[in-house]
């Protein structure tokens, strides 16, 4: 399949399409190999990784909500050493861009993780400073511009890989966060992470989720995500990877028009494991029908205040 209109180059990474998968919803990619041509994705943002293994939260971890879901997995993962020794070598066979999502409880931990992951086979590093489901670290870095900037500086000091900072929507001013991490040297921002939410079981008189609160995702968060991408695109010049409730090509187009240079699909992978391929096909059709020859032509097209980041296009 030729994806001439969809191919792009972001952060020095050649991408066949600007459609990625969001961390935590797509495992390590291999779980979806029967349904998705993994090499056609712009990248796979793999399950959040920490220095040491984490067992995650106890009790109920997910619940469906109107047009979405809440989760409180709690960053269960086998640790970075296991990822480097076993997972990364195993998933090389799929020819996909592997973007590793990392979480730490101190800025130094982010630096250490970024250093350990500065290895062949890793395309970029995504800093998760906004996981709402872990008690230590995470959310603090995600809501304080200075703390987020410190995490970026620490990561940048330890790796030559592009560093993407994943922004939390659980802030009053997402623009201030984006500006702070851009100034600290972040190569890109991805947004949004999940919105903090909860649900109560009215028959058992207690919260549904084991962790009480969880992260809201799915189609219900899309308008919030589009608005935040729009605002951030007016404030920073680094590329934006837009995500939050994307479940169709039409949804993805909104993010590009708001100013995202690429998009990531999350929760919709649960509804339809083939959804990313359908979104790629639909994006291509949209571009063709509107007379565009590349995805770059629609980045920020609906946003008059868009600062004008252009993907580095190298059509082959």
């Amino acid at each position: 399949m030729s994806d001439e209109r969809l191919q792009t180059n972001l952060l020095g990474i050649a991408m066949k399409t600007p459609v990625l998968t969001a961390s935590g919803t797509f495992g390590f990619g291999e779980e979806f190999k029967d349904f998705v041509d993994l090499s056609r994705l712009g990248g796979v943002m793999v399950k959040g990784t920490t220095l040491l293994p984490r067992r995650g939260n106890d009790g109920v971890r997910i619940t469906e909500t109107p047009e979405g879901m809440l989760n409180c997995i709690g960053l269960e993962n086998p640790g970075v050493e296991h990822f480097l020794d076993e997972t990364l070598p195993r998933i090389q066979q799929y020819g996909m861009n592997v973007i590793v999502n990392i979480s730490g409880s101190t800025a130094e931990e982010y630096g250490k993780l970024a250093g350990l992951l500065d290895v062949p086979g890793v395309a970029a590093i995504e800093l998760n400073v906004s996981c709402p489901n872990v008690k230590e670290g995470g959310i603090v870095f995600g809501t304080d511009p200075e703390a987020a900037a410190a995490v970026v500086r620490e990561a940048k000091a330890h790796t030559k890989k592009p560093v993407i900072l994943k922004l939390s929507p659980n802030v009053t001013d997402i623009v201030a966060m984006a500006r702070a991490v851009e100034a600290a040297g972040a190569d890109a921002v991805s947004l949004i992470n999940t919105l903090l939410g909860m649900e109560i079981d009215i028959h058992r008189f207690r919260p549904v989720l084991g962790n009480i609160t969880g992260g809201l995702s799915g189609p219900c968060v899309k308008p919030v995500a589009v608005r935040m991408v729009w605002q951030v695109a007016q404030a920073v010049r680094i590329p934006i990877i837009g995500m939050g409730g994307i479940a169709s090509a039409e949804d993805a187009v909104e993010f590009f028009l708001a100013g995202a240079s690429a998009v990531a699909v999350g929760t919709a992978n649960f509804t339809d494991p083939e959804i990313t391929m359908k979104i790629c096909d639909g994006l291509d059709t949209y571009l063709a029908e509107h007379g565009f020859s590349s995805i770059e032509e629609i980045v920020g097209k609906a946003n008059p205040g868009f600062l004008g980041f252009r993907n580095d296009v190298q059509k082959g």
């Binding site: 919803t25 390590f28 067992r55 971890r61 997995i73």
Partner: protein, 259 residues
């Protein structure tokens, strides 16, 4: 990389062939899916996506029967929420999206299994009983005689059918675990295969262990992807590890999950 020529799992719209209410709020659903019928092993499950209504998550349901000749698979489910309510409204000719087969099924190499089931746990065991071709006996428990409509489904597939009810309205009064020790002592079972409420399965596993008979349990957990990616269905194993019900299970050796 492209897509595999012979994928283990598939996702397709499947036509509803039949839908029948077996008991109050319990339905038998048959759908056309030759590819899954060919692949599904006893104990595996599928994730159903209900196309009417805006459901973000699929609904995991065990495969209860397979007809390879007709290319159909069947499920038995209870209406417990919005998703299963919408599922129950599907009419023959309408479509539902099926993802599967998922997970690992029961070990098939045994000669004389005893199936122990309660409630909706009997659903995947029905396919196991059929796959065992008359070699298995079944012990089933319910609150009342009405809940034991299952015996009509298992009768033709199993040698013996032992019944218990909490209120004594049918079979022996008590739980499956009340009569299990005696059944194991009198029979020559080489495995116990169980699915149902966790408290029942724990009791069954303990009695099987006391009798030196291997036991396989089929677990149920809330799931999102069903593919081992999202980690919604993580459980603790007895050796201190985490496993995923959807991918490592849903069938586990009892000693791996029950201390």
């Amino acid at each position: 990389m492209t897509l595999p020529n012979h994928p283990e799992k598939i996702v397709r719209d499947a036509k509803v062939l039949a839908q029948q209410e077996l008991a109050t709020n319990v339905y038998f659903l048959v759908v056309e899916s030759p590819e899954i019928a060919r692949r599904a092993k006893a104990g595996q499950f599928v994730q159903l996506r209900i196309l009417s209504g805006a459901f973000t998550l699929r609904r995991p349901v065990g495969v209860a029967a397979v007809d390879e000749k007709k290319g159909s698979i069947a499920f038995i489910y209870r209406v417990v929420g919005k998703g299963t309510k919408a599922l129950a409204q599907l009419m023959p000719g309408e479509m539902v999206n099926v993802l599967g087969p998922l997970g690992h099924g029961f070990a098939m190499a045994y000669k004389h299994p005893l199936i122990v089931g309660g409630g909706m746990g009997l659903s995947p065991l029905l396919y196991y009983a059929a796959a065992m071709q008359g070699k298995a006996d079944v012990l089933m428990g319910g609150k009342t005689a009405e809940e034991l409509f299952w015996s009509g489904l298992f009768d033709d597939l199993c040698g013996h059918c032992f019944l218990t009810t909490d209120d004594g309205s049918r079979g022996t009064k008590g739980f499956t675990t009340t009569v299990l020790p005696e059944i194991l002592e009198r029979g020559d079972y080489d495995v116990v295969v169980t699915c149902g409420p966790e408290v029942m399965m724990r009791g069954v596993a303990k009695i099987a262990r006391e009798h030196g008979i291997p036991c396989e349990v089929s677990l149920e957990k809330r799931m999102a992807c069903g593919l081992g990616a999202c980690l919604s269905c993580s459980i603790d194993t007895t050796d201190g590890q985490r496993k995923k019900v959807c991918k490592d299970g849903p069938v586990f050796p009892a000693e791996e999950v029950f201390a």
